[in-house]
Amino acid sequence: MWTELCGLLVHSRSGSGGASLTRKTGRTYLHVSRREDLVVSEYNFAYLDEQTKRMIRRAILKGLAIPGYQVPFASREMPMPYGWGTGGVQVSAAIMTAADVFKVIDQGADDTTNAVSIRRFFERTAGVAVTGATAEATVIQTRHRIPEEPLTEGQILVYQVPIPEPLRFLEPSEVETRKMHSLEDYGLMHVKLYEDISAHGAIATSYAYPVRVEGRYVMDPSPIPKFDNPKLEMSAIQLFGAGREQRIYALPPYTQVVSLDFDDHPFEPTKADHPCGLCGATDSYLDELIVDDAGGRLFMCSDTDYCETRRAAGHVGADGVAQAEVRP
């Protein structure tokens, strides 16, 4: 049974079968599946009840219609603490379909606690296929990174956002910041960058670097490194969920996203000036690891899938071992 998302369908409680969102040729449909499609009967599909998902989808659609605008939504209690990605999880739950292939990364890695537990959560509550491979995933939930491999149309990137308001630390009043957004009163944002230059000689903000979306809203791209900022103009849909702050915002594909800067101090995406020690990549964002008591350090790709894919293809960095020797 197919029904348009914004239609009046109110159906499919947990007892009457799962419901899911499917994207077909640019339109979004709500697909109510038959009872036998359900994988796990204890939970409604993807944990959240259908009313909540509808509410979140409405916020997402509004966010996509007004790129960069923070849409308030009634964030739910999730079975994990605030700060662990409750916003991202709710957005993922609202858009997930049974046919989706799900990937979760935390600081670029597929195998950290946060990524593993969120992936398991959806394996259990939605029964979706999961993957580590960026290209295979249809929904990617991320904390603090954008995958190195360019995303394509049809993929959705879901960000976990701690503080959605880029002006928060400059103007503590939410009433005032919302007024500043509505009046495009953004002089203060540049004051922050001015202070950076006067104190450090350069714009020292290295993550959560503010951007202007389509020449209108100033947006916090979540705490991604500013190295990732140029990738915000991409082919995939980007959704941002802040659970504690109860805000959702979005970037449709190919949206213009400009990092704020000064004419004489232009925006510069930065990374550690090394190649990856394991795969030798020179174009990826690097983590720095201290590897011994003598201060020895290893720089390696923060995107584990990117690094592994390269090593499987035979690339070896200065500190790496050829894959053939690792997996005989």
Partner: protein, 259 residues
């Protein structure tokens, strides 16, 4: 703009707080380069009037017509909020009594001065910094204090910084609410000296609210005396202060301590 055309025309401005009167039916014209003082006791409606004029508060009735840069005359009361805010950071300036209200205390002096420039689109760090250095010099703040926070400044310096921050975009009309309140007399004297110089040099028009008659004697060309929300007397400053007509003006003038 010719000198005989008013910069600001205020007509029938009224603001009430429920049954209490803030200010009632205030009308006057302000001409380019003219400084107008508003005096009166606490609660006489001077600050209400100033806030209505500067667009911080919507009046209940009346019009505030401003002669814009492009030559048109606009009623700022009926302007849209973005337009009014734009005016508030270009052609208008507002100097608060307490520098804390008018400054960003956790932003450096340079950033404070540069904010209005950046708000109207300046995007060249070197130019912004240059303007900040220039303005700090004009208000007698040493250049090496440019990266200090206002919190590290004395009260008089904070007030001078607030003036620099307001005048950096070359406004044509300055609203001042007790600019010398809370400062000791020698600092007051220097600040008044500075203000008088800037007003004359830049050809500013200003509206100064104060209860200090010495301040208006020094700065204002014209004087308006308020009592209980009403304007009770207007005239040239010297005329009103030397020969007050209204009973309240007489009381006000005679209340000043003679040293």
């Amino acid at each position: 703009m010719s000198a005989d055309q008013a910069l600001l025309q205020v007509a029938g401005l009224t603001k009430t707080y429920g049954r209490r009167v803030g200010c009632c039916d205030v009308s006057f014209d302000l001409f380019p380069g003219e400084v107008m003082g508003i005096v009166g006791e606490s609660g006489s409606g001077k600050s209400t009037l100033l806030n209505c004029l500067a667009g911080h508060m919507p009046p209940d009735a009346g019009a505030v017509r401003f002669h814009m840069r492009d030559g048109t005359v606009r009623d700022t009361v009926r302007m849209s909020e973005p337009e009014r805010r734009m005016l508030g950071r270009t052609d208008w300036a507002f100097v608060h009594q307490h520098a804390v209200d008018g400054l960003r205390m956790n932003v450096s002096a340079g950033g404070n001065v540069g904010e209005r420039l950046m708000a109207v689109g300046a995007r060249h760090y070197g130019d912004i910094r240059g303007a900040a250095v220039d303005w700090l010099g004009r208000v007698e703040i040493a250049e090496d204090r440019i990266d200090d926070r206002p919190r590290q400044f004395s009260g008089g310096m904070q007030q001078r910084l607030q003036i620099a921050r307001n005048l950096v975009t070359g406004p044509r009309l300055v609203f001042m609410d007790e600019p010398t309140g809370g400062l000791d007399v020698s600092v007051q004297a220097r600040l008044l000296d500075l203000l008088r110089g800037l007003v004359r040099e830049m050809g500013l028009s200003a509206i100064i609210v104060t209860h200090d008659l010495a301040v208006v004697r020094l700065l204002a060309d014209r004087l308006m005396v308020m009592k209980d929300g009403q304007v009770v007397e207007t005239g040239l400053t010297d005329q009103v202060l030397d020969d007050p007509q209204h009973a309240y003006s007489q009381l006000l003038v005679s209340s000043v301590l003679q040293v």
